[in-house]
């Protein structure tokens, strides 16, 4: 769990530390004229779990949606700054948003399997929606569901509607769906906030298993969860009437045990927020 200073500094320098490293540079965001995010610079090194913590309304979700170009889908949403994926700015004009979203998958707070599709089709939906045909669909379905920790539960129900699974299973189905397009990064926006503790544990195990192949960025309001699963932590905060931003970035152990900023200490120990 502990990240050595070396790993961290390698990431901080923005050097390409393998496939799937992301770096946001001076990212600001607006909804209309309302600025919600101020000059966020953050490294999300490949093969690590980066947790974004902070009180509600501090711009964590906006930030994570900027990382795969989902922010711009909201009418009136604007942004500035740069986001690098493996050294390429995903906002440069020659990069197609669809390419970026395929490489940077996303799991939402509310499980959203496609109700008109079976479990099987849900897993393959990413390929279908981006116009690709898998060489061996059966194997891909089994592999993706296995990686998401769902295969044993649904292998006999592959043709049931995706919406017929339990909440925790639906969320893991969404993870499997994202993994099936082999993303380099997986963004998770409070993936467990609607789930019970045992489903949450299954998803955390899943994150632990996939992080060797996929960079994970997770927004969570659960401090224990951030401590359990993340290597790095970024604490976002917002003051009344001003846009949100990052207060402190560091290895998870440092953020939770010995933070530099008193606001971080207050937050992680539950004294506010």
């Amino acid at each position: 769990m502990t990240t050595t200073e070396q790993d961290l500094s390698a990431g901080m320098n923005g050097g390409p530390s393998g496939s799937g490293g992301m770096r946001a540079e001076r990212v600001s965001a607006w909804f209309g004229t309302h600025k919600v995010l101020e000059q966020v610079t953050l490294d999300m090194p490949a093969g690590k779990v980066t947790a974004l913590i902070g009180p509600s309304g501090c711009g964590k979700s906006t930030f994570i949606r900027i990382l795969n170009r989902m922010h711009e889908l909201v009418p009136g949403a604007q942004l500035s700054g740069q986001v690098f994926l493996d050294g390429t700015d995903i906002y440069s004009p020659e990069v197609r948003p669809i390419e970026t979203r395929r490489k940077v998958g996303m799991v939402f707070q509310k499980p959203n399997p496609f109700p008109a599709m079976s479990v099987y089709d849900n897993v393959l939906s990413g390929l279908k929606l981006s116009g690709m045909k898998p060489a061996n669909p059966d194997a891909l379905v089994e592999d993706s569901l296995t990686r998401a920790g769902l295969w044993r539960e649904v292998r006999n129900r592959l043709e049931d509607p995706g919406g017929g699974l339990s909440g925790g299973q639906q969320q893991r189905l969404c993870i499997a769906r994202s993994l099936a397009v082999s993303p380099e990064v997986l963004l998770m926006d409070e993936p467990c906030s609607a789930l019970d503790p045992s489903s949450t544990r299954r998803i955390e195990e899943t994150i632990g298993e996939i992080v060797h192949e996929v960079t994970v960025v997770i927004v969570t309001h659960n401090m224990q969860q951030a401590q359990r699963i993340s290597d790095l932590c970024a604490f976002f905060n917002v003051d009344e009437g001003s846009p949100g931003g990052i207060v402190e970035i560091g290895p998870t152990t440092k953020i939770f045990n010995d933070p530099d900023d008193p606001r971080t200490a207050d937050y992680v120990h539950g004294r506010f927020g």
Binding site: M70, T100, A116, G126
Partner: protein
Amino acid sequence: MAVTAPPRSPGSAEAPPPGAGVFGGPGGDTPIRPRSFNAVDAWVLVASIGSSFALIWVIFRLMPISGAVGFLFWWFVSFAFIYWLAMLQLEGPLVAKDRLMAVLIVTGTGILIVPLVSIIVFVTAKGIAYIRPHVFVQTNNLCGQLDGPTCGGIAHAIVGTLEQVAIAMVISVPLAVLCAVYLNEIGGPLRRPVRLFVDAMSGVPSIVAGLFIYAVVVVSLGWGFSGFAAALALSILMLPTVTRTSEEVLRLVPDGLREGSLALGGYEWRTVWNVVLPTARSGLITAVILGVARAVGETAPVLLTAFGAQVMNGNPFHGPQESLPLFIWTYVRFNPGEAPYLRAWMASFVLIVLVLGLFTLARVLGTRTSIERRQKRAAKRDAKRAAAEPGGARA
């Protein structure tokens, strides 16, 4: 009468005594269903109906008033009041209020259903007696204007209606769904004018739509009367109905699904085609049904564009064509006398059955989802795999 039941107060007869556990505690495992309607309730209902009838009957006898409608009205009012009083005595004000509202709602539903059911019953009673096999195979060419329903048939009208409505569907449904997709999924500066235009179109009187097609297609283009011209006029009528209903249905598809699809790297058109439209499938079928319902009973635009015929014309693109509403209208309009009316009743019955059949078909097709097709394919796949690897149960 299915009255929604009242909440059972804890002190009432079936409820467990206070202190006993409701959920399977000792002595408390007599199953009760809150708000259920039991025998006592039924008796109170019957007694209220009877006593209110007696009361109003006596009043109508004593006072110089009469009239069935007034009697029914006052009977209902006094029944509602007596029933409310009885429930007030038995179960308390909360239950009494609940029962009173249930009575009002059930009565309102009944009043709405009565015209619908009576139309169907009336048309069936009048028309079903003349349904014979020859009705569906013969046309009108051998019958005079004054012949009764035993002469000839309406095969030409059935064929005309089916062809015209089918062509109108082929034209208007894709356009309407595309328009709804534009309004709800794509948007842009033209969204408001388009919506306004669609709303204005839904207000176009059907005879104006018929006149428009008559002027443009039948006369100016010189195509003459045809089933196709009728289908064009019907399309104008179907388009706004299907568009607005489809738009409402698409709006019900959760945004989370669109985001989920786009976040997977999906193209926007594939998101619409593979996620949004399949999710809205049954609602879209309802939209099409509403559009067909609008078109299938139209008479005026068909008269102006297909003109009507007494003989079979299977080619919708050339020559006058009959339709069922037109047939009905012709026989009611021009033929005073009993026999031609009977032919109109017979055709009305066929029209109602036809519409019912189309709707049932649409519903059946609508509920057969892509998942079921998928399941069949999967069964085949599994069979193939079982054959490929003997004894290979998936582990």
